[in-house]
């Protein structure tokens, strides 16, 4: 079992997390977790349920305040910044339990993401915003569902909507939180190729999932999290054959 003792600093990658720790009362969800994501790569963060993956994302993107640790993005310290500020820096995310706004249809959902953070503005209502929203929907494969209400979308569609919304902020980096959850294997492949194309367009990706199969073929590098701390990291092939990783998954699917 290898553990990280070296610490990271701001210049080690596009997104650098050093010594992240998050405690909820008596429960330590994330314990001294450090990793870095290089520009243009696809990093996978895997681990069994409850390992602290989502909590990590939440701390990085400003949904939770880390108990301790530092987060750098593009070399700047963004630790503890509120979510909207992090997004405006170019770091967007999707949600595991994605909540589209139920009171509006697909394209209107995306239009919200295009709305500026200004009180007095008509921009959100213009045709330009609408066109851009349609573009984004088509990008993620929702071109045929523009007027559909989220409640009527299949699960895969909702995940795509989440990606569209995240893309609306024109991010440099995208954190994908369990994007493959509940999908059939061909849907997984479709989504994976969408992510590949995003990377080809210059967006750095970090993906967490506990469904390892789809992730390992997509990722360049893998970090394994268990009980809140880093178990190991390496290339997909290394991780696939690592006995510690198999053990950590405790009888889960074979990788």
């Amino acid at each position: 079992m290898s553990s990280e003792t070296a610490s990271y600093s701001a210049g080690d990658g596009k997104l650098v997390v050093d010594g992240l720790t998050k405690r909820f009362g008596g429960l330590t969800a994330v314990d001294d977790f450090s990793f870095a994501v290089s520009e243009g790569e696809i990093l996978a963060i895997i681990g069994p349920n409850g390992a602290g993956k989502s909590t990590t994302f939440n701390c990085v993107t400003g949904r939770y305040r880390p108990t301790s640790g530092t987060v750098w993005f593009n070399g700047e310290d963004i630790t503890g910044e509120p979510m909207y500020a992090v997004v405006n820096r170019g770091l967007a995310r999707t949600f595991q339990s994605f909540r589209p706004l139920q009171d509006r249809n697909v394209v209107q959902n995306v239009m919200l993401a295009l709305a500026p953070n200004r009180i007095f503005s008509l921009a959100g209502l213009t045709a330009k915003t609408h066109d851009r929203a349609v573009e984004l929907c088509e990008r993620v494969g929702l071109g045929g569902d523009l007027e559909t209400l989220p409640g009527e979308l299949p699960h895969a569609g909702i995940l795509r909507l989440g990606v569209a919304r995240a893309l609306a902020s024109e991010p440099e980096m995208l954190l994908l939180d369990e994007p493959f959850a509940g999908l059939a294997s061909e849907e997984v492949d479709e989504l994976a190729s969408l992510f590949e194309s995003l990377r080809r367009n210059g967006i750095t990706l970090a993906v967490i999932d506990h469904n390892v199969r789809g992730l390992l073929s997509l990722a360049d590098r893998v970090v394994v999290l268990n009980f809140g701390s880093k178990l190991t990291e390496g290339s997909p092939d290394e991780i696939r054959t690592d006995p510690d990783v198999r053990r950590a998954y405790l009888g889960g699917e074979s990788v």
Partner: protein, 377 residues
């Protein structure tokens, strides 16, 4: 596309919408409102003036609570700040009504900012708690500093903003003042809520985290809604005390009943629409007055119905929460649309179909069946 072009597009959109029946109904209602004083006697005019101010208060509540979903259980706090500031300036310092009203609006907006900024950082229920407590604390201060604020009895009558030598004429003038204020407030709020900000407000109500994930600062917008609400509240409160129908008194501006009535009226009319609060406010107040005047006595309890009106409305809202969650006005509009559609022989819209009552009934039957099958909830 330039901003000018998009503004033209937007106007075209709006005018296209204006042909919708519900707008026609609204315009007719406003015409009736403005024409009414010629048919009504002075006493009734006074009642309608009060109803108008109540509706303004309701719109103030709806702006923040209906739109952003941050339920305020103590909006009377803002009404009181507006009313008392204007009243104190006028009575204590001889400031003319026009100035006292403007200052009162400003002061209420400042109060909205000062109390709203920290309070809005709290999540929904906590926010409701704080707003519930604020008027109670203010009332205690008014009682403790009775010499300045007049305690539970409040202050006496400030000058009227518009008046004439003859009482009937004064009332007449004040009616139009109130009606104009009503329309101005309505217009401003409609513009704001139908703009970009309005979409963000409703998004905040749906899911604040989602809004933050879109790179929009939810707190900023919530605060905007709150300060806007305070501006309306200050306008209403200040004009109210400078009219023949209102004084700076706790029973009129600060009581828990005021906060609750405003809340009930907006919910009944349909929260989150502004028009629902406007219509709901008017009807709620007028209905309340009718009940008071009719003076029925409930058989078994031997009690005057008017004392029970708050209970009746509470029960109505309770029923509404389950059967017509979006309020009466939207339901009426849906019914109207369906009636029109069938009259035109067209297809009924997707959200039509069964009336809400039947849908809810089916839902409960389903749940009961699940219960008997010993399923979780």
């Amino acid at each position: 596309m330039s901003t000018r072009q998009s503004l033209v597009d937007r106007t075209r959109e709006l005018t296209r919408d204006s042909i919708a029946p519900r707008h026609l109904v609204g315009i007719v209602a406003l015409v009736v409102l403005f024409a009414a004083p010629f048919e009504l006697d002075t006493i009734t005019q006074l009642t309608v003036i009060s109803a108008i101010y109540f509706a303004i208060f309701a719109m103030s509540w709806d702006t923040v609570s209906g739109y952003t979903g941050q339920f305020s259980f103590g909006h009377s706090f803002l009404f009181a700040v507006g009313g008392y500031t204007a009243g104190l300036l006028n009575l204590g310092f001889g400031v003319t009504p026009v100035v006292s009203i403007l200052v009162a609006i400003l002061v209420t907006m400042i109060a909205g900012f000062v109390f709203g900024a920290p309070a809005l950082r709290l999540s929904g229920p906590y926010f409701a708690v704080v707003t519930f407590l604020l008027p109670l604390v203010l009332l205690q201060i008014f009682i403790l500093k009775k010499d300045i604020f007049g305690g539970t009895l409040g202050l006496s009558n400030p000058q009227s903003l518009v008046s004439s030598s003859e009482f009937a004429q004064t009332v007449f003038l004040n009616y139009y003042l109130a009606a104009i204020a009503f329309v101005v407030v309505l217009a401003v709020l409609l513009v704001v809520t139908r703009s970009n900000a309005g979409r963000v407000f409703t998004a905040i109500r749906e899911d604040e985290v989602a809004v933050a994930a879109c790179g929009i600062n939810p707190t900023k917008f919530k605060l905007f809604a709150f300060v806007l609400s305070a501006a309306v509240a200050g306008t209403g409160g200040a004009l109210y005390v400078h009219s023949p129908v209102g004084q700076p008194q706790p029973s009129q501006l600060l009581a828990v009943a005021v906060s609750i009535n405003v809340l009930l009226a907006s919910l009944l009319g349909g929260s989150g629409t502004i028009t629902g609060a406007a219509a709901g406010g008017l009807f709620y107040y007028l209905l309340n007055e009718q009940i008071r005047q009719v003076g029925w006595v409930i058989p078994v309890l031997g009690v005057d119905v008017s004392q029970f009106s708050l209970v009746i409305f509470s029960l109505l809202v309770l029923a509404l929460v389950f059967f017509l969650p979006s309020g009466i006005l939207p339901w009426v509009m849906r019914q109207g649309r369906r009636a029109l559609a069938t009259a035109r022989g067209g297809d009924v819209a997707a959200d039509g179909g069964e009336p809400p009552l039947v849908r809810t009934y089916r839902k409960y039957v389903r749940e009961l069946r699940e219960l008997r099958g010993d399923d979780d909830e």
